[in-house]
């Protein structure tokens, strides 16, 4: 059992800094999701753990071992690639068996040795059964569906029982329905195997639904680490606030004003009260953020012109224009929806207003 620790890890490709001074501790048996937009460095971080990219600076540990100079094949990890990277000329059986061919494994608590053909076959069958592939062992990847290939890739990674599983956007090639189903199965698999999962994705829904903790990365820099709910409720900066949540958090430029005990943000002509102003100072320029579910239509408040109404069945989203910025409101479907062109007044739940420094984008409250 082992966790993974980044201590000030940097990766440069020539002039380009892919990962910048990353310090992150991934606990044993954790389901850690590295989340960020494409090109943010999350895959590079994963590839450094795998040993496919070397570390430019800093220390990388798997368990107690510094692995900076350890070959990929000698690390106790398995990886599922975005394209699955199955061997197209081999059957499913051979694909799943391949990590067992060259390594020594402890058998019955004895000294590690290479497995016999029978032992390998037994393990392959176990892994195949776990992922529901038992009937497909003699097929080649070309004869499988996308979802089945993805399972073969998973089987190939679990068959060697590694300390750490690495997954690089493994669901991105599946259709939406299969993706939702596989998310549940991955969480289940993580619980059953009780090992460390490190999972890279740009999809915040995957991160929110599966992670025990999320590490959000942008431009090679770690923005925030935390449990999904914490990251959602208290985003550390404007980037995280806008990246997590669907539809994303509404943010508008405003001035903060503190008047005795009463705190307000002034946005255009409108004042909205804030119950927890944190370190925001009177007269400070801020970006204030409100999630779509914390905005309500009221008698007076922020004037917003309705641009579109999106009906989702269980709720509806009003896409509005506030001083030239798009603002989304989530509403229950009761009553007649407002018409595009209509001007509404919005009020925000004072306890749910997020304040960010307009200059540094860091959270203030």
């Amino acid at each position: 059992m082992s966790g993974v620790v980044f201590e000030g890890v940097t990766k440069r490709f020539g002039e380009v800094v892919a990962v910048d001074d990353l310090t992150l501790e991934i606990a044993d048996q954790e389901f850690m999701v590295l989340l960020g937009p494409s090109g943010c460095g999350k895959t590079t971080a994963l590839r450094m753990i795998a040993g496919l990219d070397d570390v430019t600076a800093g220390v990388l540990r798997i368990g107690d071992r510094v692995v900076n100079d350890i070959d990929a094949k000698d690390r106790d990890i398995a990886m599922v690639f975005q394209s699955y990277a199955l061997y197209p000329h081999m059957t499913v059986r051979k694909n799943v068996e391949s990590p067992l061919l060259t390594r020594a494994f402890p058998v019955d608590d004895g000294a590690p040795r290479k497995l016999t053909g029978e032992e390998r076959e037994k393990r392959v069958k176990e892994a195949a059964a776990t992922l529901g592939l038992s009937d497909l062992l003699d097929r080649k990847p070309g004869a499988l569906s996308g979802g089945q290939r993805q399972r073969v890739a998973l089987a190939r990674s679990i068959v060697r029982r590694p300390e750490v599983f690495l997954m690089d956007e493994p669901l991105s090639n599946l259709d939406a329905k299969l993706r939702a189903q596989t998310r549940v199965e991955l969480v289940e698999l993580h619980r059953r195997l009780a090992t460390t999962f490190i999972y890279v994705t740009h999809d915040q829904v995957e991160a929110m639904t599966m992670a025990s903790r999320i590490a959000i990365i942008e431009n090679g820099r770690l923005q925030q680490v935390g449990r999904p709910q914490d990251v959602y409720e208290r985003p550390a900066n404007l980037f995280v606030a806008r990246f997590i949540g669907n539809p994303p958090m509404n943010t508008l430029p405003a001035l903060f004003s503190r008047n005795g005990t009463a705190s307000q943000v002034v946005c255009g002509e409108t004042r909205l009260s804030v119950s927890e102003p944190g370190s925001a100072a009177d007269g400070q320029a801020v970006d204030f953020g409100v999630r779509p579910e914390h905005l309500t239509v009221a008698a007076d408040g922020l004037p917003a012109e309705v641009k579109a109404v999106e009906m989702l069945g269980h709720e509806r989203h009003l896409v509005c224009d506030v001083n030239g910025a798009a603002v989304v409101i989530r509403q229950p479907t009761e009553g007649a929806p407002p018409q595009p062109g209509e001007v509404l007044h919005l009020s925000a739940d004072p306890a749910e207003v997020h304040l960010f420094d307009a200059e540094t984008s860091e959270r203030l409250n």
């Binding site: 690639f81 990277a85 061997y87 061919l101």
Partner: protein, 306 residues
Amino acid sequence: MSTEVQAEAGEHAAPAPRRHRTSRRTREALVGYLFLVPSLVIFGAFFFYPFGRLIWLGLHQQNRTGTATRWVGIEQYGEVLGGEEFSQGLWHSVQYLIYTVPLGLVLGLLLAVAAHRRLKGIKIFQTIFASTVASSVAVASVIFFVLINPQVGKFGRVSWLDLENPDSALFAVSLSSVWQNLGLTFIIVLAGLQAIPDEIIEASILDGFGPVRRFFRVTVPLIAPTLLFLVVVLSIFALQAFAQIDILTQGGPAGSTETLVFKIFNLQQPAKQPIGSILAVGLFGVTMIVSLGQFMILERRVHYGN
């Protein structure tokens, strides 16, 4: 388009739209054949007609001036194809194939694997390795001739490259072919290597495959279609080789480099043309059998991906 037609068809009564569809299909077929006409004309003029004429000539005898022909029949094919001329030429051609194809393929593969690494300055080596593609057979043969010339050549004293010795001449000529074809083999294998997804190679690294196992278990199977193509093409090249033989040995010494093609070339006087024609038809048959055989044997072991 077609869904629109079907939607319309659904609204009307059945028979009328059906006729409409059939006529449309005929029209499409006609257009298709029209597109085939240019290539049919070219193949007809430069392949089918000459080939037919070759077969026809093999059934006849011709006088010294080529002005008169006389029917002798299919027996002439039996005589010539069963004769020493054909079997000797075929044997030299087959030897030539055995010398050139495996060696050329292995060398091209090694160079391509070496050049596939992403090292600085590798483009220069790739260009050098590929350079023989850009030189003509004649030029390359002359260069080779100079290299192994006993008086001035760098390799003039190498006994197994001696063009004067009947035991080594064919091999020496083969070696020049290997060298000349190396650029093509190299480029095609390199393209095949570059088409292998990085992730598959990385997966094999994580699976613990060392370089040798990776090469034989992953790389070679994945470029197998490329290698099959090269085996077939290089075999055809070998069976058709002419210019390098003509320049280096003119079929000598003592006829030891007279391949089938060279013999056909030597039978160009009108009176011997029918014999040459039969040898040519025989060569065509041999080439076809070799290619089909390679496809059938190797195809079973070749994986074409998805």
